[in-house]
């Protein structure tokens, strides 16, 4: 029994292998920070002025979103959970998401914001795959969305580099490359399973996986450039 118990200490190695990626952790933290700060705003004293500058800016942004979205039969909730191929998806990517980025003012916070958006794009791929919603049009849309988002992430990295924080830039790019590789491998596994089980004859997941791989190759070249500066 004691010999077997010694074997169990192999399990503690999992601390190094089973953990959230930086993107996942930051995404969660941003969500929680939003809840925490939302709680703080909700409990402000009634004697506090409601006309502070930052509150006016936020109120304006929310009103604009409300007018645009509330002007028709479009619902905010429907837009924020839309996927590529859904009619509300452009509302999500062109109005709702940019509005959330208004409050990211430093290069680091902008990078964190872009990381969250990249995670959202990758999660959308997961959902589309699970719900078998991949057709040629959706694939084209998600590939374009991933490319656009990756370009914005790249710009945010460059801005952080310019502040001199090459260590942070290096870490974020490496994590991003790792995340892309993980998602690519997952897609290819799912594709293989579907083809093997005759669920499909169309290599749709592979089309997205190829896009992620291309992006990862570009990122790896960027990583080499950053590492030379460190």
């Amino acid at each position: 029994m004691k010999d077997f118990e010694k074997k169990l200490h192999i399990l503690s190695d999992m601390k190094n292998t089973v953990k959230m990626t930086d993107i996942e952790r930051n995404h969660m933290r941003a969500h929680l920070a939003g809840i925490v700060h939302g709680s703080r705003v909700a409990h402000v004293s009634p004697y506090h002025s409601y006309f502070s500058f930052s509150k006016m800016i936020r109120a304006t942004v929310y009103i604009v979103i409300g007018v645009i979205i509330g002007g028709g039969s479009i619902s905010y909730i429907g837009a924020s959970t839309a996927l590529p191929g859904d009619i509300l998806y452009p509302v999500k990517t062109k109005i709702i998401e940019p509005a959330k980025g208004v409050f990211a003012t430093t290069p680091e916070s902008k990078l964190s914001y872009q990381e969250d958006l990249m995670q959202t794009r990758l999660d959308e791929i997961d959902t589309l795959t699970k719900e078998n919603k991949l057709d040629d049009q959706v694939i084209a849309q998600i590939n374009q969305a991933v490319n656009t988002q990756a370009d914005q992430f790249d710009t945010a990295i460059a801005n952080v580099e310019q502040t001199g924080n090459t260590t942070l830039a290096n870490e974020k790019v490496k994590n991003f490359a790792d995340e892309l590789e993980r998602r690519e491998n997952k897609l290819r596994t799912q594709q293989t399973t579907k083809l093997y089980e005759n669920i499909t004859t169309e290599p749709r997941e592979n089309k997205i996986a190829d896009q992620l791989k291309n992006r990862r190759m570009r990122i790896n070249k960027r990583l080499e450039t950053i590492e030379q500066k460190i």
């Binding site: 169990l8 399990l11 190695d13 969660m28 933290r29």
Partner: protein, 170 residues
């Protein structure tokens, strides 16, 4: 009710310090990465809701594990957990480090599969003990059980795990 910045800082520090451990705990109970992320986030949201209402938390680590355990129980009521094979598909693999010897990798994989097969109440405790290196006292606080019960459950859990492990080898 006014929420002070100390409470916020305690909460956000708890996320920094314990989010990976809670994620691992959830992951080994539900065998699905995305679900584990959801459960981890739910755990922290519920913890914040409790703290924001003025709830006192003496030991935040233990509190998080209790909330996570309840969240997992609720999840299980709704859905069945997936197999270990799907964990591998999600990108997790034991022994990725080439420096480890093959026997250890092989044992590790078998132990993982055996852990997934044993009863949930033993899997929870063994995960806390051998993956998170928690002490008996910490596990007792996290589960709300007595230290004696925790020790007994660990011992029984190891027996069941060992039996499962050996039957896989044979």
């Amino acid at each position: 009710m006014k929420i002070d910045t100390t409470t916020e800082q305690i909460f956000l520090d708890a996320h920094t310090n314990h989010s990976d451990a809670i994620f691992r705990y959830c992951f080994f109970q539900v065998s699905n990465r995305e679900q584990a992320l959801d459960l981890t986030q739910d755990t922290f949201v519920k913890t914040w809701e409790y703290m924001a209402k003025g709830g006192k938390v003496d030991n935040i680590k233990a509190f998080l594990y209790r909330i996570a355990t309840n969240a997992i129980i609720d999840y299980r009521r709704k859905k069945k957990s997936t197999s270990l094979d799907s964990m591998m598909e999600d990108g997790y693999d034991i022994g990725h480090d080439e420096r480890e010897n093959h026997e250890q990798i092989s044992d590790g994989k078998l132990i993982m599969k055996s852990l997934a097969d044993i009863d949930e109440k033993y899997r929870e405790i063994l995960s806390m003990r051998y993956i998170e290196d928690m002490s008996i006292t910490e596990i007792a606080k996290a589960t709300g059980e007595s230290e004696n019960n925790v020790s007994v459950r660990i011992h029984r859990g190891i027996e069941k795990l060992k039996n499962n492990f050996e039957s896989r080898i044979n």
